[in-house]
Assembly symmetry: D2
Homo-oligomer: 342 residues x 4
Amino acid sequence: MIKVGIVGGTGYTGVELLRLLVQHPEVELKVITSRGDAGTAVADMFPSLRGRVPLRFVDPQQADLNACDVVFFATPHGVAMAQSPDLLAHGVKVIDLAADFRIKDVAEFEKWYKIPHTEKALLDEAVYGLPEMRRAEIAKARIVANPGCYATAVQLGFLPLVEAGVVDLGSLIADAASGVSGAGRKAAVGSLFSEASDNFKAYGVGGHRHLPEIRQGLAAAAGQQVGLTFVPHLTPAIRGIHATLYARLTREVDVQALYEKRFAGESFVDVMPAGSTPDTRSVRASNTCRIAVHRPQGGDTVVVLVVEDNLVKGAAGQAVQNMNLMFGLAETTGLMQVPVLP
Amino acid sequence: MIKVGIVGGTGYTGVELLRLLVQHPEVELKVITSRGDAGTAVADMFPSLRGRVPLRFVDPQQADLNACDVVFFATPHGVAMAQSPDLLAHGVKVIDLAADFRIKDVAEFEKWYKIPHTEKALLDEAVYGLPEMRRAEIAKARIVANPGCYATAVQLGFLPLVEAGVVDLGSLIADAASGVSGAGRKAAVGSLFSEASDNFKAYGVGGHRHLPEIRQGLAAAAGQQVGLTFVPHLTPAIRGIHATLYARLTREVDVQALYEKRFAGESFVDVMPAGSTPDTRSVRASNTCRIAVHRPQGGDTVVVLVVEDNLVKGAAGQAVQNMNLMFGLAETTGLMQVPVLP
Amino acid sequence: MIKVGIVGGTGYTGVELLRLLVQHPEVELKVITSRGDAGTAVADMFPSLRGRVPLRFVDPQQADLNACDVVFFATPHGVAMAQSPDLLAHGVKVIDLAADFRIKDVAEFEKWYKIPHTEKALLDEAVYGLPEMRRAEIAKARIVANPGCYATAVQLGFLPLVEAGVVDLGSLIADAASGVSGAGRKAAVGSLFSEASDNFKAYGVGGHRHLPEIRQGLAAAAGQQVGLTFVPHLTPAIRGIHATLYARLTREVDVQALYEKRFAGESFVDVMPAGSTPDTRSVRASNTCRIAVHRPQGGDTVVVLVVEDNLVKGAAGQAVQNMNLMFGLAETTGLMQVPVLP
Amino acid sequence: MIKVGIVGGTGYTGVELLRLLVQHPEVELKVITSRGDAGTAVADMFPSLRGRVPLRFVDPQQADLNACDVVFFATPHGVAMAQSPDLLAHGVKVIDLAADFRIKDVAEFEKWYKIPHTEKALLDEAVYGLPEMRRAEIAKARIVANPGCYATAVQLGFLPLVEAGVVDLGSLIADAASGVSGAGRKAAVGSLFSEASDNFKAYGVGGHRHLPEIRQGLAAAAGQQVGLTFVPHLTPAIRGIHATLYARLTREVDVQALYEKRFAGESFVDVMPAGSTPDTRSVRASNTCRIAVHRPQGGDTVVVLVVEDNLVKGAAGQAVQNMNLMFGLAETTGLMQVPVLP
């Protein structure tokens, strides 16, 4: 059994990690920390876990994380950076669901996240945890940077085109919509039901933090810089990200075959038949990402539709997928929940 | 492995049965029928099942249901009545999720459902499938009448009071709200998003079909007739039933202790601490029913709050629970999914 | 033109007052205050008002409220109590949308609102602003206590029965559901989209602040104390309150005729035909309250269904209705917006 | 007073026309037809209109439309084509909210709408009713083709760029999301609450009927053909369209100034300050279209955000705006409702 700790478990990523880990056959949940809610029973905060998670939140100072095999950070940015060195020194593996180790260029990280990066060596060492791109490296990693929710969807959607070098890399467009859980569980006026319900809006048009992360991944896949316009939107759903990607073909290619081949054998990427329009609910509460490729009216613009559950494949599920790889388990262990529809 | 057939699998109860059965370790899904969609791949109608359910819907005429160990009817009323005798004669057990075998009084059945009952002997034989009331009988049954969604919540909520004989049986009130999936997957103006969203309304105030079913169950528990006012409402949620029950105490009793004792050992009924207010999402996509009991301001009115997922404990999950009992499995087999929150 | 000031205009009641007042033909909006947002343009906070409200929020210290004819308080409890005496001394009328002047019994007020009442003479003077009960008094009032949202719906729904003395006054039950805007615009986890959406729950079962207010009104109508159980619920809608009221008839009466007669001539109370089930959207964004009366299966339990928009008839609209009365205008002036459906 | 008839008033466009026309100071509503619901009181179908619209639906055969000054068609495609000639011959003006007269190229119309066009002369005569493009022509028109909902948003958003000739006309992208009311009030599984809620999906990627309409308008503005990729999505809101438009600048221009100048003086187009992100609720139930222009990170991709209420500026409100123009009224008459927020 893998002994697991969670740092910062009171947000939506935390409760989703708990949902998945408590059903994972190879996991023993040892400790979960919270600065603000130490002492509270997990099941009192999240009644969905009554009878399933007997733990209480523990003050971070008093948590014995070093006895774990792996620790997940479901914290604000900066916490994993501070605590990882000690954990790693004790032989504990680290999976960070925040952004501390996602962006390799320190200046770029500091520009977007407004905090200094204090662990540059670890930043070099950390593996970007998108298994469909870096499976082998993840399997050997001590520390994994779990990708952002938008970043997962947009990179998976563009990868086949970018790797194959068949599109204009200077004019990629990613138009995406996220459910409100992506904004987290913190009290904020913009996330209130009465603000977000029956509404639709763009945000972060001038620059969203997932932009540099996506550009970095696509550049690595392309072997050159890419030009990307990324516009996220807020849609009145709890869960789900839908990305609509636009790229211009620079040479003729069977895009459907390209995608099917690229993702053949992937357990969590489902390339749908030509003409499909995936909906976010078809992956609700599951670790699956579904993709459909279109060429409207046979033109040279490719439209790629990608859906994922932002809390699962976009966060906690992918983190567990990474854990499975890091501990030599079958990648699908504990992650085969059927999506909940309706 | 239990060989399972489903008759009428294109509604929400059908897809929920599929979600649960495909994850059930002792079930082999053999056949699923649909009159209107024969030939369609199940996964084409419900993309959430892509990669998980390889079956196609089969025309009822051509389905080999007699080779099954058990057949679930997720059909309109009247179908199970017509097909059950032949199945039973072939040794196939039957679980009817419609109302054909719920109401023992034929005249009462015919009054509320407007169709003649043609199988009175089977009606006598059928066991009402509320395990928390009739566990032993279900275990021996050939045919089980799976309770209605409201009927499950309201009966479970009133049972301790009624069995203990501590409330005025002439003035019970059940005020309940259901998510829209309770109305099924058929195209109807009243169930449209633009009608049901951002809205709340009562319906069936003059008489809902679950009323006689609830009265029958409570009368059996009380050993006498009960007077019940039942007002269902439609709330803009996909899943979930919340019942708020009102009863007047006729003698002093510790209601919290009464409920805890009555449901001690039940895997799927969670009596919450005094003062709790269960929310429907805390049981979303799970087979759990949560109950909290109140005595506002210490008066003699007891208020019982009950939540369940109408498609799980209120339909498909309870049907699987009944199957487990009928086949000697642990009652929780395949039913321990953690609720999906948020 | 009536010169109007608003104290505390950054909540939902405030923006709704603005929506109504800016369209009111006899109103000149002079000043709107906010402690936290002084200097902000109203239209920057509420883009729906761009081009319609040219004002900026003003610091309360610097607002010239004494030059107004009437001031609305859309503030937390306690503010109107502090500021009203000075306004009244300057001849400014006051309409308080908070609870400061609703409950005549000081001890009761202090018990439920946990603040001392410092203006007992004004509390005596203030008129409870439910026009359908106290029209003549409101017309002569200097200070009006605008009723709570639930209190409006529940009192209007029970009034005919209670005034006529035809029901058991000891066992009234009010089961109500409110949209989330009733919780206001303050950042709170429980009001987040991801918490309140696709969910349904009761709250305040042990005692909601509108309970003493409702009991006071019904007792006045009955000429005696009443016993009331009141259970509010949260439903995933932005606007709307639906109250389902239960009472036991103590003598035979034509309840439909009773209601039609009681509300004959009322502009904002619509008694629907027998058998109707009003939905909250049918009054969305309007000042109308719709009521339907039922006697399920001809029994002695009366079920009354009431809907209103909690922000209009339950708050800002009723406040404007009161203003119209206080200034001798036709009661419907500026309040005849047709409900927005769908 | 303008005597108004409505053909086909039982859909969402119909009820929205009624909401606006009943509040319009210069309109007398004479007749409303429905084939399926003749005899039904309008207020019985739409309780929001109780006490406001005393009419009953009339069978189209028996409706005296020729006595009207103007007739609105809120019907499926093909009906206005059949009935307009006779109305026009009687001096009745026509505003068609369906697509019969939107597309000038008959072959194109027939390709997308799958019905033959039988009134080619009228098609030539009809004026495309986008006032911000064709105000003068509309004022003189006998017959107006009211634009599609997406077509209104996308054209208004692109117009300044296209008219100024500052973007690459071969690679325009319009990514839009619509509330579910855009699909109308007909019973369809895809529009059910339990299908559309908590979900997000693209549709019509291969070709939506508003595509040729948009291309025609933009080509007219540009003086040349345009290449446009248009991907509509369904978002779980009742009302609202949000369009996110992408275009590549071919020469340097102050886009903010360009938009402000183009729409200066327009009553129903609000160009927001640079950096704004309009939300659909800020125009809910109003005839306003709000636009914000961005150049993410100063690059050469312009991102235009456009919001409108699909039932108002995208349908019934624009139709009334056209009526005002056709009858010489101030364009804003009866259309100044403040948006409903929250």
